[in-house]
């Protein structure tokens, strides 16, 4: 089949038309796709009146990689490598969300230890994500030191990933009905190191930012989102909570073992960039609280669901050293065997650092999805950006963009 003709898009002609229209009082500026403050690849076409932004038009898709199409061709366990690469700032969170949907569809009941392990890696991912968001935004706004402190702590979180799975950046740690390897004492030691280092980093970063006159001047009252707008524009997570929508899936539609843990859901009603940073900083403290409890309460016992349930891949030791493990491994890996999925569909979501991360999963009875629709918080939050930035100055773009925490890999998928 002949390839379709590919034009260069609307942008070139748009720019030409604007050049001819000499009566226009506004001018157009491209922000990105390569710009240090976008951190990843996204583009804004700004219509400016002097330095005031009359209209911002996001142009996305530069990182579109067909992740949802791939999900229709990979098995549930294979797809974990792809979900890791969606929000690559907090990969374990994506894995938790993906297997939350798969396990709801297959009706797998996790063991208590596995639930705690998943909560622990979710909260580590949340800390990692919030630290990056706050640190990188501070970097863009000129506060370089806060960025260094927060990234230093993120290194310790990567050490935990490395110890638990063998990979620092994309752990690929979860499997249907369990995890790749059980937590051992060394993993717990590294988590304790993160927990011990956290209070000092938190104190340093919050003092460097929230007692910093320049930082406050640049984020207070910038990019205000009201509660009504937050709901109407489908916002969730810290963005909605900064605007007064006190909704957190961990509390309101509990999953895993969150009901057994004691934590608060911070919110503010200001709705500006400052509020979003404050909510994220407070969520860091709550994650720390959850982690301390989860480490203390971590139950003993098996981590994967029993091998008789036919879902979990046996770990390497069992697969190589026992007949049952080898048979189970073979049964699951061979494409014409394996577990059967229902011919049905399900929507399931978890509270990711950025908001509700859900999967609409349609299955056709095989081991891979028929339709793997992600509900990506970055995508939905970036659509609010033109509303937030309207009538602000060019310099405010980084303050608003930083507070939304747009991850382009998740934005474009």
């Amino acid at each position: 089949m002949a390839a379709p003709a590919m034009g260069m898009g609307l942008d070139e002609t748009d720019l030409e038309a604007e050049e001819q229209d000499a009566t226009r009082a506004t001018w157009t500026l491209n922000f990105g796709p390569q710009h240090p403050a976008t951190h990843t690849t996204l583009r804004l076409i700004l219509e400016l009146d002097g330095e005031r932004i009359v209209k911002a038009t996001p142009d996305i898709g530069y990182l579109h990689s067909g992740f949802e199409k791939l999900g229709e061709h990979l098995t549930f366990n294979q797809y974990v490598t792809i979900v890791d690469r969606k929000n690559y700032i907090s990969p374990p969170m994506n894995e938790v969300a993906w297997f939350h949907a798969v396990e709801k569809l297959l009706e797998v009941e996790l063991t208590p230890r596995c639930q705690y392990i998943r909560v622990i890696i979710s909260e580590l991912a949340r800390m990692s994500d919030h630290l990056l968001c706050t640190g990188a935004a501070a970097l863009d706004l000129g506060a370089f030191t806060a960025f260094l402190y927060s990234f230093n702590l993120r290194e310790l979180i990567y050490d935990v990933y490395e110890e638990m799975s063998g990979y620092r950046f994309h752990p690929g740690y979860l499997r249907i009905g369990g995890v790749l390897y059980d937590f051992n004492e060394r993993v717990l030691d590294r988590i304790r190191k993160v927990l011990d280092a956290f209070p000092k980093v938190y104190a340093d970063v919050s003092k460097l930012l929230f007692r910093n006159r320049i930082f406050l001047d640049r984020v207070r009252g910038i990019g205000v989102l009201t509660k009504e707008q937050a709901l109407a524009h489908s916002c969730s997570g810290p963005l909605a909570r900064a605007s007064g929508v006190t909704y957190d899936l961990r509390k309101d539609e509990p999953y895993l073992c969150y009901p057994e843990l004691d934590f608060d859901v911070p919110y503010t009603t200001e709705g500006d960039s400052w509020a979003r940073f404050i909510v994220r900083m407070e969520e860091l403290r709550q994650s720390h609280r959850i982690l301390e409890q989860a480490i203390r309460k971590l139950p003993t016992g098996p981590v994967n669901v029993p091998i008789a349930e036919k879902f979990p891949l046996p770990d390497k030791l069992t697969a190589y050293n026992s007949m049952e493990g080898l048979i189970q491994h073979f049964e699951l890996i061979m494409p014409n065997r394996g577990h059967q999925s229902p011919v049905d569909e399900v929507y399931a979501a978890v509270e990711s650092p950025n908001g509700e991360l859900g999967y609409y999963l349609v299955t056709d009875g095989t081991q891979s999805g028929w339709r793997v629709r992600t509900r990506p918080p970055s995508f939905i939050h970036f659509s609010v950006f033109p509303l937030l930035i309207k009538d602000h100055l060019i310099a405010d773009i980084v303050a608003v963009l930083g507070s939304l925490n747009i991850i382009a890999a998740e934005l474009d998928r």
Binding site: H233, G358, Y360, G365, R373
Partner: protein
């Protein structure tokens, strides 16, 4: 005549159902005979004919479903389940932010000209999500203010998430026109 096939799960609607009030709202629009709820795990889904979609969504919004959580499409070409009258289905996951109730509205559209009413006038958050469904499946949303492709390039000719579009594409990447420095 409904546009969607019967869902595979058992149909239940009991007196003690906490979501009975919501179903009554939809029944108020469609009439008792038109209501087709189905449940799977903790999801409550209602299939709605494409022509009545906007009425149902408006009634639900008026009854407190103020949050459009998710909107997406699916192509059921060759799907093994019960026969469906329409090839594409679009799902709307709605949430009530005060009662925490969730409901999934599903509606079917068919080739050659799949068209639905846009949810943009009710929830502006539908803007990009509808653009993505259009981009990936070619389903048009009437009343959408700016229905353009969002992830694929403007000049792209196919709809990549359709089931008849191959995983490795049709050579678009290979044949992408390259500009040399002299041409720019």
């Amino acid at each position: 005549m409904s546009t969607t096939g019967a869902p595979s799960s058992t149909e239940t609607q009991t007196e003690t159902d906490p979501q009975a009030a919501t179903l009554a709202v939809i029944a108020g629009v469609l009439g008792e005979g038109g209501l087709k709820p189905s449940r799977f795990r903790d999801n409550l889904r209602v299939h709605v004919p494409a022509g009545r979609l906007f009425e149902v969504l408006s009634a639900l919004k008026a009854s407190g479903f103020n949050w459009l959580i998710e909107l997406g499409g699916t192509d059921y070409l060759g799907y093994p389940g019960p026969a469906r009258a329409s090839r594409f289905e679009v799902h709307y996951v709605l949430k009530n932010s005060t009662t925490r109730e969730r409901i999934i509205i599903k509606t079917g559209v068919n080739d050659p000209d799949p068209t639905l009413a846009s949810a943009y006038p009710l929830w502006p958050g539908a803007d990009w999500m509808e653009r993505e469904v259009f981009d990936m499946y070619g389903i048009r949303f009437e009343g959408h203010p700016d229905l353009r492709r969002i992830l694929m390039p403007e000049g792209f000719a196919a709809f990549p998430l359709r089931k008849d579009y191959p995983l490795r594409g049709r050579g678009e990447r290979h044949n992408f026109p390259r500009l040399t420095r002299g041409e720019t």
